[in-house]
Symmetry: C2
Subunit: 386 residues, 2 copies
């Protein structure tokens, strides 16, 4: 692989941005949604289905992979792309968020985080340096700095302390990245600061001064009200350079994505499409469908006759209902596939709407198809409260 | 669909038979292995994967489908083929065996079986007539008579009574089939009689006199020793007309299949490849592999570099090990797929060996690759004992 990392902003329309990230492993059309492949697999979906659905990039979780199968092992096996048979770009998180939400007994200091594995209780340390080393061992194309995320609501002094610690870690991650990374890989900084405008400003300015090739907005969708999240997003995004991609971590429902794109966000990841698929829920252009519901038992129509995804187009709702009720693997497989494909269709529709200068109209029409967006606090469950 | 059901015996070699069943939905090359699609899905496998693996026919379970989603419902939705998106032949069992092994509180009389659903305790009746009606509602290409199967060992008088009852039911199934079936569908009789040579003879002769287009050997792999099963098979198969296909129900391991083919059997079904796949076991030409085993953790080699199945050829054992340990859907998906494909490769190899007149040599070489065949009493667990 050769080449470098770049982002081109092609057009803006009603706050939404159309762009393209280029990496040595391929292009990422933005706004982009990244299916989540936590443990080196997007649950119940084949990688060729992801490709056919139009996913340009997927996310994998550093916390899970460093514990099992282990980053050094993945590196020896040729890296994460070869391991899981996905040759397009992969973004990894730093592991920090999941240490906070999943591990037992963790202790956080300026040095880093010490924690016990949720799998076997073994003790591990995640420092900024190790977070980058692990991501480089995995071979992630886009990597994230280690940061400290506090659950909301939080005291000002705690949020402020987390901002400062995250900035110090950003510096250390950058140094480690210079040591470990190969050409064309990119490290993103993460803006923290809770819902506090001044802290967000402090965080964003310091990170921008460090000149990262992209920025994430962290510390949202962690317990705050939806309006508060959108407000914070609206005040944070403009603090970031227009010519760099912006990534909102862990969000969200279709409505959430539309609202966030309208506020200038370019990249997303969320377990929602696959997790919903495993629980019998389908996302479609007609709204959300609960396949457990008995009203589908005799329905010969597919989820969406116009979908390009076979799972959504070729199987009857009656069959999907039967599979879900029978707890068959194929139910989770088809619905996860259909949802991953729907999310890609949604992003493609946003990109087209921006390209054609009709994002505002498109957004209000599309949001009406879905129940009011709950800015899903999917990741917040186990976050420590200050 | 047009055309009729036929079987052509093309060649015999060392007891093994090469043949072809023709149905309006396509040809079935024999010896044939039918993957089991209990609830209208071969667990964790897509139908296009079954097709690509070379499966000419699959099995579905009448008991499960009549309870959920219901035979009348499937019929209204266009039949089982359309429901599950499989347009090649489907064979269904009569439901009788699973009533005995799965349902709560059942009562068997000459009229039929009354039982309570294992799903919700609701009461159902399965008569010979209803068993055929259900199979016709599903649209099965090959259907099975309702029979009574007793677990082994059994008293002679009980085995004998089951033979007589099964023969009476065979007559009634034949009449019902004449009423419900469409052209090209076929009804098979089932030889019972436990391990008793005289009872097997009585059963086979009476069934042959009824002139079914095919015959199953039932009542085996239900608790008897492997040698006893093979002996019984050896004495039963020659009682059946050479120009009709012979089906051994619910068997088995690769070694079992080879031994049974050597005794003149043409068709098989078994949950072993998919069930094993869900439990981390892979069947390969190198023998059985337990992917849970830690020795695979760093192994970059695939299950079989020469397989035509992507699941066996393209993913490392290290990755499969990781997926199995992580209890990921994809582990069950890939291993079930690989096993279904291996079973098809095994049958194809048998057919080639017979065609080339070297079945005996092939069989002894191939059996050596596997641990001694246990004539897997997979289905016997919950059968009532006399």
């Amino acid at each position: 692989m050769t080449g470098s990392f770049s982002f081109t902003l092609m057009k803006s329309d009603a706050g939404a941005r159309l762009g393209e990230i280029v990496t040595p492993r391929g292009k990422i059309r933005t706004p982009a949604f990244m299916p989540v492949g936590t443990a080196a697999t997007v649950k119940a979906v084949y990688t060729d289905q992801l490709e056919a659905a139009g996913a340009d990039v997927i996310l994998a979780n550093t916390y899970h992979l460093m514990l099992r199968p282990g980053a050094e092992r993945v590196a020896k096996l040729g890296g994460l792309h070869r391991f899981m048979r996905w040759d397009r770009p992969i973004l990894t998180d730093s592991g920090g968020f999941q240490v906070m939400s999943l591990s037992k007994l963790r202790r956080i200091t300026d040095a880093g985080v010490t924690f016990q594995s949720h799998l076997d209780g073994s003790t591990h340390e995640l420092t900024p340096e190790r977070a980058i080393e692990v991501q480089c061992l995995l071979g992630a194309d886009i990597q994230m700095q280690l940061d400290e995320c506090v659950a909301l609501p939080a005291l000002h002094k705690e949020t402020s302390a987390a901002v400062e610690r995250s900035l110090a870690w950003a510096e250390r991650c950058k140094l480690a990245f210079a040591r470990y990374a190969t050409r064309g890989q990119a490290l993103f900084g993460i803006v923290q600061g809770g819902t506090d405008a001044e802290l967000r400003q402090r965080s964003a300015r310091a990170l921008v001064a460090m000149d990262f090739p992209g920025y994430a907005v962290g510390g949202l969708a962690v317990g705050e009200a939806p309006e508060v999240m959108l407000e914070t997003l609206a005040l944070t995004a403009p603090l970031l350079p227009a010519e760099k991609p912006r990534y909102l971590m862990g969000v969200g429902t279709p409505t959430d994505l539309i609202e966030a794109v309208a506020r200038g966000i370019d990249m997303f990841d969320c377990v929602l499409p696959t997790r919903s698929g495993r629980h019998g829920q389908a996302f479609t252009w007609g709204g959300k469908i609960n396949l457990r519901n008995a009203r589908h038992a005799d329905d010969p129509s597919p989820l969406d006759p116009h979908s390009s995804c076979p799972a959504a187009r070729d199987y009857s709702r009656a069959y999907l209902h039967h599979l879900v009720k029978s707890e068959e693997y194929l139910g989770a497989m088809l619905l996860s596939w259909a949802n991953v494909a729907f999310y890609q269709e949604l992003m493609a529709a946003m990109r087209t709407a921006v390209a054609e200068g009709r994002f505002a109209t498109w957004a209000s029409e599309t949001k009406a198809r879905f129940a009011p967006g709950i800015l899903a606090p999917l990741n917040a469950a186990a976050l420590p409260r200050s």
